[in-house]
């Protein structure tokens, strides 16, 4: 067995608890002293930093939700000044308002450590070429795995996403050992490989680390077959760090959480009470080691469960199950966050009536988004080519705003059901 940080990954539970308790105590003090938002929240419930002595006291702390980040946009929740910050990332948000996250040098190190643990758990070593096909940019995917690879001492190939034939060529020519991207992109690369007449055993690739979107066991098998590799899951969200918050080992029965930095809890989303191990509920993280953005009991909206059974890989870190889905309105399409309001924004900008519906399906294991829009005077034409041009205009505006392609389907006026309350804007037919 091989570990990146064996002293943590295989630490006795008691030692881990001590570390967590110490980090939580310090974190609560930092939050109270440096983040006015938390000082106010703690004061409201009469909580003093010294009330938090051990990790068990975490249940006394208030929750943090995404809206808090939006309300304090962009830097209001940061606990450090510009002098300590070294990196900013952001997740795509509703029209214009993104969720902004920041990192200190230490934070980046902790995150990279998580990603490096994931690479090692997937069988990677300092001698491997790590082919990173996640997008590089404000999205945490690309740089997250990249930094993890470098910290490990492996060789990062920063391919970023897109240009799939070139991806295949690099897989072949650069001898990539481990591929990192979204599962749906891995499928697409696999398809491209087949179309180019290349057999999976003609590329040296051994493993893949896939995350940033929900994927099924079936899809894992498909990817493994298409690329001739073993496929591993990785989990992360920018608010906490990015990919590497938790990762799969060879046993593949859940993802080990880097609980030395990110302490997980499962709560009942209705009562907000903690749930015992093995029960599904909302996943909550406390960034006990983070300096820049030390979120307290952040509600991820992901539905998962925790297990502490002994793992055959030797790691003692708690495992979380693949999240079952999200409870809020955000859609994750091929790893990209899409909000219905962004679609609406595009439609309105093109001067059309906002009568639309988003249909998400899984086609050949790839997320496919169709935006159904009712035909309006503005795009109608007596010529098919005129309508097709309007269709194309909408599709390209969608792509540039959402960052992910959508099929456009034009409907007759009043084809969509009208609602007096909240319109049904999203029909998600994906079955994970």
């Amino acid at each position: 067995m091989n570990y990146f940080t064996p002293e943590i990954e295989t630490a006795p539970r008691e030692k881990l608890r001590e570390l967590q308790s110490e980090r939580l105590r310090k974190m609560v003090r930092r939050c109270y002293n440096n983040v006015p938002f938390y000082k106010r929240k703690f004061d409201e419930i009469g909580l003093k930093p010294e009330d938090i002595q051990s990790i068990d006291d975490i249940v006394k702390l208030p929750f943090t939700v995404k809206q808090d980040l939006r309300d304090n946009y962009p830097y209001g929740m940061f606990a450090v000044g510009r002098d300590k910050l070294v990196r900013i990332h952001a997740s795509s948000g509703t029209t214009g308002k993104q969720t902004v996250v920041g990192y200190t040098k230490e934070d980046l190190h902790a995150w990279a450590e998580g990603a490096a643990r994931a690479i090692v758990a997937a069988g990677g070593s300092a001698n491997d070429f790590i082919h990173v096909s996640y997008g590089y940019g404000l999205f945490t995917g690309g740089l997250g795995l990249h930094d993890g690879a470098e910290l490990l001492g492996a060789i990062a190939i920063p391919v970023s996403s897109g240009n799939t034939k070139r991806q295949v060529q690099i897989l072949q020519d650069f001898q990539s050992d481990i591929l990192c991207c979204t599962p749906s992109y891995a499928m697409f690369i696999g398809e491209t490989l087949r179309e180019m007449g290349i057999k999976p055993d003609e590329i040296p690739l051994r493993a893949g680390i896939f995350g940033a979107e929900a994927w099924s066991e079936n899809m894992r098998l498909e990817i493994e077959k298409a690329l001739g590799i073993k496929a591993y899951d990785i989990y992360g969200l920018s608010e906490i760090a990015g990919p590497g918050v938790s990762y799969e080992c060879s046993e593949q029965t859940g993802m080990h959480v880097c609980e030395d930095h990110f302490f997980p809890e499962i709560i009942d989303p209705e009562t907000l009470k903690p749930l015992p191990d093995g029960e599904y509920g909302e996943l909550v993280f406390t960034c006990i080691g983070k300096e820049a953005l030390p979120l307290v009991r952040y509600r991820t909206r992901d539905i998962s469960c925790l297990t502490r059974e002994t793992c055959s890989c030797g790691r003692t870190l708690v495992k979380m199950k693949k999240p079952r889905g999200r409870s809020d309105d955000m859609l994750i399409i091929r790893g990209v966050n899409v909000f219905p309001s962004q679609v609406e924004h595009v439609i309105l900008e093109l001067g059309m009536e906002p009568n639309y519906q988003i249909i998400v399906e899984r086609e050949n294991n790839l997320d496919a988004m169709t935006v159904c829009i009712e035909m309006s005077e503005r795009m109608f034409s007596d010529e098919i080519s005129g309508i097709a041009a309007a269709e194309k205009r909408i599709a390209s505006a969608m792509l540039s705003t959402l960052g992910v392609g959508a099929k456009v389907r034009l409907l007759e006026p009043h084809a969509l059901p009208r609602s007096e309350g909240k319109a049904v804007r999203v029909v998600d037919k994906r079955k994970i």
Partner: protein, 141 residues
Amino acid sequence: MEIMQISIFAENRPGRLAELTEKIASLGIDVRALSLADSADYGVLRLIVAEPEKALACLRAAQLMATGTPVLGVAVNDAPGGFATVVRVLADANISVEYAYAFLTPTTGKAGVILRVKDNAAAAAALQLAKIELLGQEQIF
């Protein structure tokens, strides 16, 4: 000498054309000529009707996506080469035909053709010069 054509948007799904044409019938719209153009997902039903303005208002009131487009109607000899003559005149005048469809007129010995071109005035001038008979709304009904 333009004729007002009515175009209706229709989704491509089984039974939709039947529903649509039944709707047109129930609105009492008298159709003289029609053509259906389609893509994989939708089609455009084009109609030449009596009282197009009134028909258009009725269709819109029935929540259909309908629009009016001025097109040309010509009478061609119901004999081999009849339509070819018309197209040749337009080609020589550098006018391209977007689409066309034919129908029978009450006028014996002649067929009617609806022509959709970009520039109706230029096309009409070229056709008149070639002594091709243009049809107005009143000649069709």
